[in-house]
Amino acid sequence: MAKYTKTEEALIWLCACSGLDPRERVVLLRAAPSPEALFARFETYCESNLGKECAPPAARRQALEKLLTEAEEKGYFAVTAESADYPKELKAADPPLVLFGAGRRELLGARKFCIVGSRITPPWAQKFGAEISARVSKRFAVVTGLAEGGDLAAVRGALPGDLICVLPCGLDECYPAAHAAVKEEIRSTGLLLSEYPFAEKTRRYSFFARNRILAGLSEGVLVLSAGEKSGALITADLALEYGRDVFAVPYQPNVAQGAGCNELLKKGAYVCTCAQDIFDCYGIVLKEQTVSLLPEEEALYRILHAEGELHAAVIAERAGLPVHEAAAILASLELKGMITKAGGNRYSCVK
């Protein structure tokens, strides 16, 4: 069984087994001289500070043993505020006393960069996000959630690589449930983190709480997409509060899915149009891989690149090709990762 110090054990029990809310935990920790002392004489502190009844010492020990055995069986580990590898950056962010994790623990010590986006993210931004995430993951561990849209794009791009995914629920749960397979993949090649007991379900407030960890862990945050009101904006605001860099992808003025991003840019966020924009901020140079294009591909790519997004028929017409020939070349460009389908026979540039 993994060894935890007495202090760590006390914190783990307090967070996962005591049934107290975070505010109450803080009250007790302040009242007691040390977490071990709190654990040993919990009933005293609990009654005098909170006026609550609590379980007897034997039951507490039993609950802790049960939890640790369960964690052992499931391959989970716990990182407490007292652990050596507890991410220091997180201290700025109303730090969770304990983080439960599954996967590659060493990623906690890596440089971390957060990529988030709202659930409704246009197809091109998803592809773009995946590309950026893939490149960023070569230098940073990409930190993100497991939500639809922008988060998932970041996950897809970074897999199989350095990826930290913070869940808004316990490690046993998966939200949204449809991403269970992705979650397993992350567990095997990256790291899953959660501050909740294993079986905890998602609650309304847990998204906000999760976002503070996302921002707190990372050196910077890139917002791929955000409407006027989006969870991704909360992450960005928190990042600013903690003194981290905020990047945003620029959108057309009238696109609702990007209104939040443009708002961030107005407030002074860094513009991000390629992964190098992020690396520049941290003095990193990563060699660009160049994709070789055939002359006809080059021609179509230029036409599309000039407008950003175009209908297949319009591209064909401008290139002076029959639509079905253009379709073949566009498919080839798509396979090379230069462009993507945007729905309704429209294509948009990714690079």
């Binding site: 319009v314 379709a327 080839s332």
Partner: protein
């Protein structure tokens, strides 16, 4: 005296001979029917009695027994009326000298003695001819469909009295002249590709779909012309051959939906509403098994508008007929097999709000909502749809080209050429189109060059395609190459085939 008359009943599309035996004998006056007649056949008693009396003939006041043989086969419908009446008249010795032994009598009687048309006449005639019968008396109103049966004497009669006069030689009816089947050419209708505005991508997709016999799914916002495009499908399909027309006519005749021409000259286009039940789609009924929409669409197009709105079970029932080209429906009365080789064309919105992929309107659906909507269509069904194309709301003005819009006739020519290439290729394989290829034929006829193989592999990885999707792409590439007149599948054909599929992961 005992009289025997031959009539036919239908089991599915096959006519089965039924002997109507009538014994008119001394005894207490009675009028009985035996030999598993159903309600409609039993009621013919009263129709026949009235018809005989109202035709000025004598209804015998003796003991009458009518037997339908074989006795174990259920007899249905009103098509026996004429046979019963004639056998009664023969049995009561009112048709002296008339030879009725090798004539098949078909028709329903009205109370005044007029003959009414029956459903399913053509399949009966064809089967009867197969059984060696060549003389028929049929209702005059059925004459249009009977015209196409060559090598038989067919007498169309207006009434029972006319039949009697014909039989005793008082006033003979002239036999029908055999009509020659000629494709009338499509009647000028509103469905023609020249009226379809814009939609260059979808136009190309339906051309490929028809050329290779591929099933087609059109995805697009409401009001972008999906239905219009679907209606154009029959206009670019190859003309019907006589055999095909006859087979389709048989089914339509059984269903009683044959038009005035008496033969189907245009490929059917069936659009069952999404509230359709599985039985109405596949065929069924209590004892008589009626052909369902998929059989009525045989040789033509089955168009399912708003695919996700159909009941899941109804859609799943389409899978087997799509594979086999026929459907066997089992009921208490027996098992019936109807042909159902149709082209499936379906349409759906891209997402619940319908605006996904629109240039001007913003889609408000979350990815989960879109996935849930698309998941209403099962993978196995989608696997049988080779081509998936987006129909967009690009306004025609966005294209400045003055290039004229092609008419259906021009597209049809190219389709015919591609079909001919396929016929030659599959001459020994009992296949007609590329869509019907299995793994074995794909290996034999769709050899990919190294470069094409490479493209497929990268498409596989990048788009996370399933193994079935790979076969679909190869088959569609084959058709595109055929349209192009190429012996080998080239990279550009594979690329184009790759472009006709929807994003599987949103």
């Amino acid at each position: 005296m005992i009289a025997k008359i031959i009539c036919f009943t239908l089991v599915g599309l096959d006519g089965v001979p039924v002997e109507v035996e009538t014994d008119v004998n001394k005894g207490v006056p009675a009028y009985d029917m035996v030999g598993l007649p159903d309600a409609a056949v039993k009621e013919s008693k009263e129709r026949v009695r009235s018809a005989i009396k109202n035709s000025g003939l004598l209804f015998p006041m003796n003991k009458i027994t009518i037997n339908f043989a074989p006795a174990d086969l259920k007899k249905e419908g009103a098509a026996f009326d004429l046979a019963v009446a004639v056998s009664l008249l023969k049995g009561s010795e009112q048709l002296i000298g008339a030879d009725v032994s090798d004539t098949v009598f078909l028709g329903e009687l009205a109370l005044n003695g007029d003959l009414r048309p029956i459903n399913g006449l053509l399949p009966i005639l064809i089967s009867a001819k197969g059984h060696g019968f060549t003389k028929f008396v049929i209702p005059a109103a059925n004459a249009p469909e009977a015209r196409f049966l060559g090598g038989a004497e067919i007498y169309p009669a207006e009434s029972l009295l006319a039949v009697v006069k014909h039989l005793v030689g008082a006033e003979t009816i002239s036999p029908l002249e055999t009509a020659r089947f000629a494709v009338s050419g499509r009647k000028e209708s509103s469905a023609d590709l020249k009226y379809v505005k814009g939609q260059p991508v979808a136009r190309r997709a339906i051309e490929i779909a028809v050329a290779g016999g591929h099933n087609l799914l059109m995805v697009g916002p409401p009001g972008t012309g999906k239905t219009m495009l679907a209606r154009c499908l029959p206009t670019i399909m190859p003309d019907l051959s006589f055999e095909e027309a006859l087979e389709i006519t048989k089914i339509h005749s059984v269903a009683g939906i044959l038009g005035e021409e008496g033969i189907v000259t245009e490929r059917p286009f069936r659009t069952p509403h999404h509230t359709a039940t599985t039985v109405s789609m596949c065929g069924g009924g209590n004892r008589v098994v009626h052909p369902g929409e998929i059989s009525l669409a045989h040789g033509g197009v089955l168009f399912l508008d708003e695919l996700p709105e159909y009941k899941r079970s109804t859609l799943e029932a389409l899978r087997q007929p799509l594979e086999d080209g026929k459907i066997s429906v089992s009921r208490a009365g027996g098992t019936v097999t109807y042909p159902s080789r149709f082209m499936l064309c379906a349409s759906m919105n891209p997402c619940p709000c319908g605006n996904y992929g629109s240039a001007d309107l913003v889609c408000t659906c979350t990815p989960a909502e879109i996935r849930r909507y698309r998941r209403k269509i099962s993978g196995p069904l989608l696997d049988r749809i080779d081509l998936q194309v987006e129909v967009d709301n690009l306004s025609y003005d966005e294209l400045t080209s003055t290039e004229g819009r092609e008419s259906s006739a021009a597209v049809k020519e190219r389709v015919n050429i591609a079909r001919k290439i396929q016929r030659n290729r599959f001459a020994e394989y009992r296949l007609n189109t590329n869509a019907e290829m299995g793994e074995r034929e794909i290996d034999a006829f769709c050899a990919l060059g190294r470069e094409s193989e490479e493209i497929l592999r990268s498409a596989f990885e990048r788009m996370k395609l399933s193994a079935r999707a790979r076969a679909r792409i190869i088959k569609v590439s084959r058709t595109i190459a055929d349209l192009d007149g190429c012996e080998n599948i080239e990279p550009k054909h594979v690329f184009e085939a790759v472009s006709y599929r929807l994003e599987e992961k949103i």
